[in-house]
């Protein structure tokens, strides 16, 4: 279980995260929603170690992640797909995927081959285009590649930062449903950040609503969908 307690992350004088506490159940999708600037990306970046919290703690089962390096956190089974289809456009599709598993190439070569085969099965279009530079992919394909790069590390916790950003609704629905399948079939735990609350809440087990660095609602997804007053107040729709 992911447990975030009293987390504070500051930039110069702004508290981007101001005393955040919540938990995410293993094997489920927990979604973090909130308006632009609410602190969603900062939350994921603090969990993955890219930002250092001023105070508070992050634990993954019994493991304290709070002061670990990014590299060590990845090695503990936590993978982040950062905002904005983060792939390396100058590298080929296959190289981007290889990169994700490079750190465990020596210990787990066999499993890495299986994991690579798995992501190509999940996203056959990436296999077809494996020799092309990632920069030549469409937005949706790039997001698939970013997710694949994270998956070949065989994470137990996947942090997804706005995977639907800038994608056509049909494509983002397809990507979200693949993540949902993965959760159900492999027991992967997902923390899904979205601005578009509806797609996220439809597949999530639980929802956290952030506003100005604070948790304003922490409810089962079904209740959050139903609470139109809350949504009107914080998301504007």
């Amino acid at each position: 279980m992911l447990k975030v307690s009293n987390l504070v992350t500051e930039f110069a004088s702004i508290k981007a995260l101001n005393d955040i506490s919540f938990q995410a159940k293993p094997g489920r999708i927990t979604t973090v929603i909130g308006a632009n600037g609410a602190g969603k990306s900062t939350l994921l970046r603090t969990i993955s170690g890219l930002e250092r919290p001023t105070s508070g703690s992050i634990t993954w089962f019994d493991e304290e992640l709070t002061d670990k390096s990014v590299e060590a956190i990845v090695r503990s089974g936590v993978a982040q797909v950062p905002e904005g289809h983060a792939v390396i456009s100058q590298l080929s599709v296959a190289e981007n995927i290889e990169l994700g598993g490079l750190f465990r190439k020596r210990q787990a070569r066999g499993d890495l081959e299986i994991a690579t085969k798995d992501v190509y099965e999940l996203f056959p279009i990436l296999f077809e285009r494996r020799r092309e530079p990632a920069g030549s992919l469409s937005g949706g394909e790039r997001q698939m590649l970013a997710i694949s790069r994270a998956l070949v590390a065989r994470p137990k916790l996947l942090l997804l930062d706005e995977p639907s950003l800038g994608l056509a609704p049909l494509i983002s629905a397809q990507i979200i449903s693949i993540v949902d399948e993965l959760c159900k079939s492999t027991g992967l735990t997902v923390l899904l950040v979205e601005q578009n609350a509806n797609t996220a809440l439809a597949v999530a087990d639980h929802g956290i609503l952030l506003a100005l660095g604070k948790v304003v609602a922490d409810l089962p997804a079904k209740e959050l969908i139903a609470d139109s007053a809350l949504r009107a107040a914080y998301l504007g729709y």
Binding site: V74, L99, P133, A150
Partner: protein, 303 residues
């Protein structure tokens, strides 16, 4: 032998050395974002080490290998001892602005250059001395005709060719090579892939140190060795790197050979004193006509 071939062979063997220097500069620029002015100071220092070993009756080849290893260690030391501590001092007021963040390592590299020259002065009295070649530096003959190329030129071309082949294999066929390219292109995604970007950066410094150390060993049989001998090589190598687009390894190598030919042809068909002017004109032309480098395209740039 006609003067065209003379210029061509001289250009090839000098160009091979410029290619190494240029490659070394680009490796550190891409990998660490630093223009390393100390690079040829490091090479000068390791060539002195080799020279000292040869004086102490070591064989040429053991001195050669030890100098290359020293080059790698010195490169890694510059990163671990100076560059990394400098860049990790995030709360220093001076380092907080972006322009200072990029300027300070460059100034530090100039400082390192000064220190290395001073140390060479202390250890080796700063005297100019010869440095041996492993094969004859006299012109080769084919039957009765003199060829405009020496055995040593062929040696230089062969060693550099081998180095470039090994470097290419390393970067395109190995996991560590992929990690190095990825770290240079996008450190954040690379860290999120579990790769220790800091160690990869130190490795770029070490490989760059080895390449420049090799350049020092290959150039000094012709130029002699003194604390200042290799300064010129840095300027030419830097020009080659810029001509190659600064971020492309293949471009940096190509830039090195092009500079080699430009200098050799100016030397043969014009006069040696025009070489600097030619380098300058060439650099300006390259910057105006192809600011993205000879191999660079505007957006996608590979290897």
């Amino acid at each position: 032998m006609n003067s065209f071939l003379t210029a061509f062979f001289a250009g090839t063997s000098q160009g091979a050395i410029y290619a190494l220097v240029s490659l070394g500069l680009v490796l550190v620029w891409r990998g660490a974002g630093v223009v390393n002015f100390a690079q040829m100071g490091q090479a000068m220092f390791t060539t002195y080490i080799a020279s000292q070993l040869i004086q102490n009756e070591y064989s040429y080849w053991s001195a050669f290998v030890i100098a290359l290893i020293s080059g790698a260690l010195l490169g890694a030391l510059v990163d671990l001892g100076i560059m990394r501590p400098l860049s990790s001092r995030k709360n220093s007021l001076l380092l907080n602005s972006q322009s200072m963040r990029t300027t300070i390592p460059v100034i530090a590299s100039l400082g390192i250059l000064g220190v290395l020259k001073a140390l060479a002065g202390i250890f080796w009295a700063g005297e100019e001395r010869g440095f041996p070649a492993p094969v004859p530096t006299t012109g080769l003959r084919l039957g009765n005709t003199d060829l405009a190329i020496t055995g040593f030129d062929l040696f230089v071309i062969g060693v550099v060719f081998l180095t470039l082949v090994l470097t290419t294999i390393f970067f395109t066929r190995t996991g560590m090579g992929l990690a190095m390219r990825a770290s240079a292109l996008n450190p954040e995604v690379t860290r999120l892939s579990g790769i220790r970007v800091g160690s990869v950066r130190t490795l770029s410094w070490a490989i760059s140190g080895t390449a420049s150390s090799l350049a020092g060993l290959l150039v000094t049989p012709k130029t002699n060795l003194s604390p200042n001998t290799l300064d010129l090589l840095l300027i030419v190598g830097f020009t080659a790197a810029v001509v190659g687009g600064l971020t492309s390894l293949a471009g940096s190598v190509l830039g090195g050979f092009i500079l080699g030919y430009v200098i050799a042809f100016v030397n043969v068909y014009s006069a040696p004193e025009n070489v600097f002017l030619a380098i300058l004109i060439f650099l300006l032309l390259a910057l105006f006509l192809r600011p993205q480098g000879i191999l660079g395209s505007k957006e996608v740039r590979r290897v």
